[in-house]
């Protein structure tokens, strides 16, 4: 009896113990291109909240939020296109529902070639057109990204990440990119707990002209685009919430050592259902217009970036409510070395009308001082980049 059990267990274990290579064909085992990247950002934060009928509140903490590590594997396929996988994990914001754990923010498979890219799995959603130069990508989340109408959690990752099937089509010589996606945004119950199951619940279409990084000085207009996102929220008789986004990036100077750029984006969200600003979901479902703009300066010596400074301003108006908020964020980053930075950022946010009442304070100051370490290393690069200078300007080589 025990012997039988042992054999059965052995038979079950065999496929698990066998190395992945031996499970494959007799062809050579090709080592993929391996890219490992990561960023540790650690800041000492001081926050002061001020509001009507509320004592001033001081908060001090050390935040490692947004620290992440990312691994990427690319392989040439039989038809010389490329396929692969990305696995990444992130340390969430302190107020997230899962503060004590890590969040697998990117787990997806992909295929790409000169003219297209397909992603299937969990990753950062295409909620925005341009990136803003704040220390963390969610510092101005409410102003800079299309919000998730399905979440009543204050977990910012629920807005930024989700599962999707995204298809990008590229016209490299015209710098054109069209993106279509079907997304499964994270849904929560009214208490903010993630639901056990939910559907593909949203989709969108983006069109942009975007100049790849290595060619950033080839055109004053670096990026310009429009996008549309639809979420099937089904609240109070409204089936859909729509958001429309437009934005771009312009080189203000064509000077690689003293480089100024301007970044701007506007998001109009139709909202859906009752516009109750007291809950996270209510604010995400409110009709709103959000505008954000930034000026970014980068100073290099001997073609090595030494420090950068940025000023970002954002404004959001909740259209049918007597509510608005705005924020101003100066950011400074000094590079101590390659991939090591000294950071400082001040963020002032002011809320007015019903929003201040709903949130409980109308002014918020946050000062952050910290360090960041980031790196990206590629091993066995036998593939190259779709948008490298050689591939963009001298014909594509597979």
């Amino acid at each position: 009896m025990r012997r039988w059990a042992f054999l059965i267990l052995g038979a079950l274990a065999a496929p698990v113990l066998a190395s992945p290579a031996s499970a494959r064909d007799v062809g050579a085992d090709v080592v993929p291109r391996i890219t490992i990247g990561g960023r540790l950002i650690s800041t000492l934060n001081a926050t002061w909240l001020q509001g009507d009928g509320r004592d001033d509140d001081d908060l001090y903490d050390v935040s490692i939020a947004d620290t992440s590590i990312l691994t990427r594997f690319d392989r040439r396929l039989f038809d010389r296109s490329v396929g692969g996988a990305v696995v990444g994990l992130e340390f969430p914001d302190p107020d997230a529902d899962f503060t004590d754990s890590v969040f697998y923010h990117r787990v997806f498979a992909f295929l790409w070639d000169r003219g297209y890219q397909v992603e299937l799995g969990r990753t950062k959603l295409r909620n925005f057109l341009v990136e803003f130069p704040t220390l963390r990508d969610d510092d101005l989340l409410r102003f800079t990204e299309i919000l998730n109408g399905f979440s009543n959690s204050n977990t910012e990752e629920y807005h930024q990440f989700g599962n999707h099937l995204a298809l990008d089509l590229f016209w490299p010589q015209r710098f054109l990119q069209v993106t279509g996606y079907l997304a499964q945004r994270i849904e929560t119950d009214p208490a903010g707990e993630m639901k056990e199951e939910f559907d593909l619940n949203s989709g969108g279409l983006f069109l942009q002209r975007t100049v790849p990084g290595p060619l950033k000085f080839s055109s004053r207009l670096r990026q310009l685009g429009v996008g549309w996102d639809a979420q099937k929220v089904d609240v109070d008789g409204d089936t859909w919430k729509h958001a429309f986004v437009a934005g771009g990036v312009v080189n203000l100077t064509m000077d690689p050592l003293d480089h100024w750029e301007a970044v701007a984006q506007v998001i109009y969200d139709t909202g859906a259902g009752d516009r109750d600003l007291t809950t996270d979901q209510g604010r995400a479902l409110a009709e709103s217009v959000a505008v954000a703009a930034a000026v970014n300066y980068r100073h290099s010596t001997f073609q090595v970036l030494r420090w950068k400074a940025a000023l970002t301003a954002a404004y959001k108006d909740y259209r049918d409510e007597d509510a608005a908020e705005w924020s101003v964020v100066p950011t400074f980053q000094y590079r101590l070395g390659d991939g090591m930075g000294l950071l400082a950022q001040y963020q002032y946010t002011r809320r007015s009308g019903d929003l201040a009442t709903a949130v409980g304070f109308d002014q918020e100051h946050t000062v952050q001082i910290g360090l960041s370490f980031d790196f990206e290393t590629t091993f066995n690069d036998y593939i190259g980049e779709r948008q490298s200078i050689l591939n963009m300007e001298h014909g594509y080589v597979r």
Binding site: A28, R80, P214, L215, F217, S218, M254, D255, P256, L257, T301, F302, Q303, V304, D338, T377, T378, F379, N380, D381, Y382, G384, E385, S388, I389, L390, E393, H394, G395, V397, R398
Partner: protein, 441 residues
């Protein structure tokens, strides 16, 4: 200009006879030399009517004698730079050689562009291509000819041309920052020199040499003498040029991209008048360099600028004869009773040990210079930067491989057979076995 004939380079021949051009400058010409050695007795004559044939890389014709099939640069495959930035001379003509009205120059046009080069079916790479080809076209002149090469740099990178193994005026030697400023994007540099000494020589870029020379910037420069003693002794009817190279395609791709990115920025800085010597990494004196370090300049070697894995050593994965890897290499053709000459040029970074099956050959020249006495062997070592000339007699009809005997270089991306492998094939034979194309053993 030196007017001394390069006598010391011709141990096989009699002292060169002197001829005088209209300038009165002496040029070297090789005398017809009767040779009587013990090898000669065994050497049959080549078949009558045998015609001299030159095989790839294609011959570059002088511009005065248009020969479109050979000399026309291939059309550009992408972005090219046709004129230098404002304020930079379009043409640089250094002194150190006679003027055009003093001697009769043979003029050759070389341009440089980035081209997609097919190493063998299924493997393509961006390379730096003289006249759109890898390797660059072959220049073939007579010893003593006055040569003018108009080199136009149509890339965004900087280059020079160095005339390897040739005794040119130092201002024509093509070493950036030592004998000339590098040729700027869109600029034309005119090299002038007298072709000497005779022999198998080559040209290559000397700017960012590790990358540029490997990326395709090399070509054969053959200087013949009127009555070549080697030909008299071994009456060859075909003359092959085989340029041996090794490639780390991943290094080439990463570094070319990185250099292009840096150079695009430098071009912008030049336009803004902000390109200082430190950003270029070029200093007037060693003391200037030391002072720059004290004031915060970080030399690139301290910041590990190499792209990708920051490798200090290359991982060569493709090996080529005349820009092609087996099975895309061209066969060497021979007939029974024919002598052929094979000029081996190592324009790469590795040593190659070329071994011919079924024959003993004579090594007749090394570094382009005739050996005092031919050496009979079947394997010849060709070190980086060296050339070796061998002559083969067709006395064993069949198909015979000729390959690097460091068989790591007889691979394509690690798979044997490939790389530096070709076949000496007898014409007009009907043997019981004929070569196939093998890719995986």
């Amino acid at each position: 200009m030196s007017d001394k004939a390069p006598e010391g380079h011709h141990p096989v021949s009699e002292p060169p006879r002197r001829t005088f051009l209209k300038t009165g400058l002496a040029v070297a010409g090789a005398a017809a030399a009767g040779l009587a050695t013990k090898a000669e007795a065994a050497i049959p004559k080549s078949p009558p009517g045998g015609e001299t044939r030159f095989v790839a890389p294609p011959l570059l014709s002088p511009s005065a004698a248009p020969d479109p099939g050979h000399q026309t640069p291939l059309p550009a495959q992408g972005r090219t730079i046709e004129a230098p930035l404002h304020g930079i001379p379009a043409v640089v003509e250094p002194t150190g050689a006679p003027r055009d009205d003093q001697v009769a120059y043979k003029t050759f046009d070389l341009d440089l562009q980035i081209a997609r080069h097919t190493l063998l079916p299924g493997v393509e790479a961006h390379m730096l291509a003289f006249n759109g080809r890898v390797p660059g076209p072959t220049i073939r002149v007579m010893e003593g000819d006055w040569v003018k090469v108009r080199f136009k740099n149509r890339t965004e990178l900087m280059h020079t041309i160095h005339w390897h193994g040739m005794d040119v005026p130092y201002t024509m030697d093509g070493v950036p920052w030592v004998t000339q400023d590098p040729v700027r994007p869109g600029q034309t540099f005119i090299y002038r020199f007298q072709a000497r000494p005779a022999g198998t020589r080559f040209y290559h870029c000397h700017f960012g040499t590790l990358l540029h020379m490997q990326s395709g910037m090399h070509g054969a420069f053959i200087i013949e003498k009127p009555n070549d003693p080697i030909r008299q002794r071994f009456p060859y009817t075909r003359d092959y040029v085989l340029i041996l190279t090794s490639w780390d395609l991943n290094f080439i791709r990463e570094e070319l991209n990185a250099m292009l990115r840096r150079m695009k920025e430098r071009m912008l800085l030049m336009e803004l008048g902000k390109l200082d010597p430190q950003t270029m990494g070029v200093f007037r004196t060693y003391e200037d360099f030391q002072r720059a370090l004290e004031s915060g300049y970080m030399p690139p070697y301290t910041t590990q600028r190499l792209a990708g894995e920051g490798r200090a050593t290359l991982n060569f994965n493709f090996f080529a004869i005349n820009g092609k890897c087996y099975p895309s290499t061209e066969n060497l053709l021979i007939r029974e009773g024919e002598w052929i000459r094979i000029r081996l040029i190592n324009a790469g970074q590795l040593e190659h040990y070329m071994h011919l099956h079924g024959h003993q050959f004579f090594i007749v020249a090394e570094d382009g210079n005739d050996l005092p006495e031919p050496i009979e062997q079947n394997t010849v070592r060709v070190s980086p930067g060296k050339t070796a000339d061998i002559v083969v007699y067709g006395n064993n009809p069949g198909y015979w491989t000729f390959h690097d005997h460091d068989t790591r270089r007889v691979t394509n991306n690690g798979i044997y057979p490939g790389g530096i492998l070709t076949v000496l094939a007898y014409e007009g034979i009907d043997g019981p076995y004929a070569p196939k194309v093998a890719l995986d053993e």
